[in-house]
Amino acid sequence: MIVRVMGEGQYEVADALGVRLNELDEQALAALERGDEAGLDAALEQMAALVRQEGTPLAADDLRVSDVVIPPTDLTLEETRKLVSEHGLIPDLPA
C-alpha cells in the first residue's frame, strides 16, 4: 500500500503495516477529540517514523495515488481538524 507523509512524499509499505498504522491512527483521532495536541503529534510522528523506517520511498515521478495520507505534525489542533474536514486546510486545486 502507498502512504503519503504530508510535506515529505510517498512511501510503499507492506499491507501488514496497516494494522499498526490503524492502532496509531485511533490514538491520533482520540487525542484530537480530547484536544491533546502533544498526544496527537506523538501519534502522527510515530506513524510517520514507522512508514519511513519500514517503507520504501516512492520515486518522485511515480504518479500513483496514495491509499492513506498522514497529516503533518507541525499543525495546531485546530489546523489538523480543518485539514481532515470537508472544506479543510488544503487549498482547492488550480483548475
Binding site: L63, R64, V68, I70, P71, L83, I90, P91, A95
Partner: protein, 246 residues
C-alpha cells in the same frame, strides 16, 4: 467514524475529483491541466523566493542588533570609567535585552530555513511528477481511445493532484509563517526607528545623552583648567586656589 489517515486522503481525493469533474475533452483537459501544474511550480518558486527575502530581512535586523550589543558594551565601559555605575548598569541591562531579541531572531531564521528546505523538496517532487505527467499525456493522446484515455487521464491527474494538494498546503503554510514574521519584523523596525522601543532605544538615547554630558563636562573642566593655568602664568600671583584636576 473514519480515522485521520483515511479522512485526510478523502479530503484530497475530493479536491481531485472536483478538478476532474470539469474535464470534458480529454486532450484539452490534459494540456490545460499541464498548464496548471506549471503554474503551481511557479507558485512554489515564488514561495521559496519569499521565504528567502523574509530571512534576509531578519538577518539584517540581527546585524543591527549585534552592532547595538557592541555599542552598549563600550558605553558601559565608558560609563564605568567615568565613575557612573548607574549608567553602566543601564547599558548592560539594555545589552541583555538586545541579546534576548537576538535569540528570538535566531529561532525565527531557523524556522524560515526549515520552510525553505521543505519548499525546495516539494518543488523537486512536484517537478518530477509534472515531467512524468507530461510524457504520459503524449502517450495517452497518441495511443488510447477516448474512453480509455479518460481512465488513464483520471489516474495520472489524481497522482499529480495529490502532490499538488500537498505542495499547495506547504506553500500556504510557508506564506502564513512568512507574513507573520514580516509583520513582526516591521514592528521591530518601526520601533527602532521611532526610538520608542521601551527601555531599549529610548533608554539608549538617554544613555547617549548622559555619556555626552560626561564627556562634554570633562571637556569643560579641561578647558577651565587650561584657562586657569594661563591666567596664573600671565598675571601676578594671586591667592586663587588652583583648579582641582579630575
Amino acid at each position: 467514524m473514519a480515522g485521520l489517515l483515511s479522512r485526510a486522503s478523502m479530503v484530497i481525493k475530493a479536491r481531485i475529483s472536483k478538478l476532474l469533474d470539469r474535464a470534458e475533452d480529454p486532450a484539452v483537459t490534459l494540456d490545460y491541466s499541464y498548464e496548471k501544474q506549471l503554474e503551481m511550480l511557479q507558485k512554489v518558486k515564488k514561495g521559496i523566493a519569499d521565504v528567502v527575502t523574509a530571512k534576509k530581512r531578519l538577518e539584517l535586523q540581527t546585524q543591527k542588533l549585534e552592532q547595538q550589543v557592541v555599542k552598549l558594551e563600550s558605553q558601559a565601559r565608558q560609563a564605568l570609567a567615568a565613575g557612573r555605575e548607574d549608567l553602566a548598569r543601564a547599558a548592560l541591562e539594555q545589552k541583555a535585552l538586545a541579546q534576548l531579541q537576538l535569540q528570538a531572531l535566531d529561532q525565527q531564521v531557523t524556522g524560515l530555513e526549515d520552510q525553505q528546505t521543505k519548499l525546495v523538496e516539494s518543488e523537486k517532487r512536484l517537478s518530477a511528477k509534472v515531467e512524468a505527467f507530461r510524457s504520459q499525456k503524449e502517450v495517452i493522446k497518441a495511443q488510447y481511445s477516448a474512453a480509455e484515455a479518460q481512465v488513464r487521464i483520471g489516474e495520472a491527474a489524481s497522482g499529480i493532484g495529490e502532490e499538488m494538494a500537498d505542495t499547495g498546503l506547504a506553500i500556504q503554510r510557508a506564506r502564513d509563517k512568512t507574513e507573520q514574521m514580516q509583520a513582526r519584523a516591521a514592528a521591530v523596525d518601526e520601533l527602532i526607528e521611532a526610538g520608542t522601543l521601551e527601555d531599549f532605544t529610548s533608554d539608549k538615547t538617554r544613555l547617549d545623552r548622559e555619556l555626552e554630558a560626561i564627556s562634554s563636562g570633562s571637556q569643560v573642566d579641561e578647558e577651565l583648567t587650561r584657562m586657569k593655568a594661563e591666567l596664573e602664568a600671565g598675571g601676578e600671583k594671586k591667592e586663587l586656589e588652583g583648579g582641582e584636576k579630575s
